[in-house]
C-alpha cells in the first residue's frame, strides 16, 4: 500500500494504492497536510487503485476535508468502486464529499 502525490495544474492529486486503514492513515494525513502547509488549496484523492477503507481511513478523510476547508481549500474524491460507494453511503459520508466517477470529471469540477 502506498500513496503517490502529483500535481495536475493547480490541483494536488493523491493516488491511494492498496488499503486505507488504521495502519497507514497517518501517512496519508501527513502527506496532504505537508502540501497544505506549502500553500496548496485544491486536492483530489483518487481511489481507482484502492482495496478497502476502514473507519480510521474514513476518519482521516473527514479530518483532512475540515482542515483543507479551514484553509479556504477544497478536497474532492474520485473513482470509488461499488463497494467503496456502499461504504460512503452507509456512513452518509457521500453527503459530505463531492465525489466524481472519473478523475477527469473530478479535475474539471474544480
Amino acid at each position: 500500500m502506498s500513496f503517490s502525490i502529483k500535481k495536475d495544474g493547480e490541483i494536488v492529486v493523491v493516488d491511494v494504492e492498496g488499503q486505507l486503514i488504521v495502519g497507514n492513515r497517518q501517512e496519508l494525513k501527513q502527506k496532504v497536510l505537508d502540501e497544505l502547509e506549502r500553500g496548496e488549496k485544491k486536492f483530489l484523492i483518487d481511489f481507482a487503485q484502492t482495496g478497502y477503507i476502514d473507519s480510521s481511513g474514513l476518519g482521516v478523510l473527514v479530518s483532512l476535508s475540515k482542515k483543507i476547508r479551514e484553509q479556504g481549500g477544497e478536497l474532492r474524491l474520485a473513482n470509488l468502486n461499488d463497494d467503496l460507494k456502499t461504504l460512503f453511503e452507509l456512513t452518509k459520508l457521500d453527503t459530505l464529499f463531492q465525489i466524481s466517477d472519473t478523475r477527469d470529471r473530478a479535475l474539471s469540477s474544480f
Partner: protein, 152 residues
Amino acid sequence: MAASSQSDAGLRVSLEVEIPSDVAFIERVVDLVRHSCSELSFNSHQLALNVPVALSEAMSNAILRGNLEDPEKRVVVRARVDDSRLVLEIADEGVRFDIDAKTLDATDPANLEREDGRGLFLMRALMDQVERFDAGPVGTLGNVVRLTLARG
C-alpha cells in the same frame, strides 16, 4: 443465502491467528480470512467490503481500545468458515465494555464530521450479527467480539 455447491458441502475451514497488539498485523490477518472465504465462494462484495472492513474494525478495537497497544498483550482471531456462514471471534485482554453503549449512529448529522466513532457502527452494518462476550470468568479482563456473516 446462496445454495451450497456440491464441492463446498461439508467443507469447513478453521483458522486461529495470534498477533501482538500492533495494527501493522491487521492486513495480513484480513488477507488470511478473506482467502478462506474466497475458497468457500463468498460473493465478491462480501470479500471486498463486509469481511475486510468488519474484521479490520474488530481487530483495530481490540488492539487500540482493548489492549491499549500494550506489547505484552495479544489479540487472538478465530475464524470458522463453511458453506453457509463465516463466524469470526476476536479476543483481547482489555477492560470489558458495553457494545451497545459504545455504538454511535454514524449517520446522525451531529456525528457526521467526527473523525472517530464509526467502527462498531460499520461492523453492525456489514455483518449479520455482532455480539460481545466476556473472555473469562467474572473479575477477569478480556472481551470476545463475535461477528457472523451468512454466505451471500
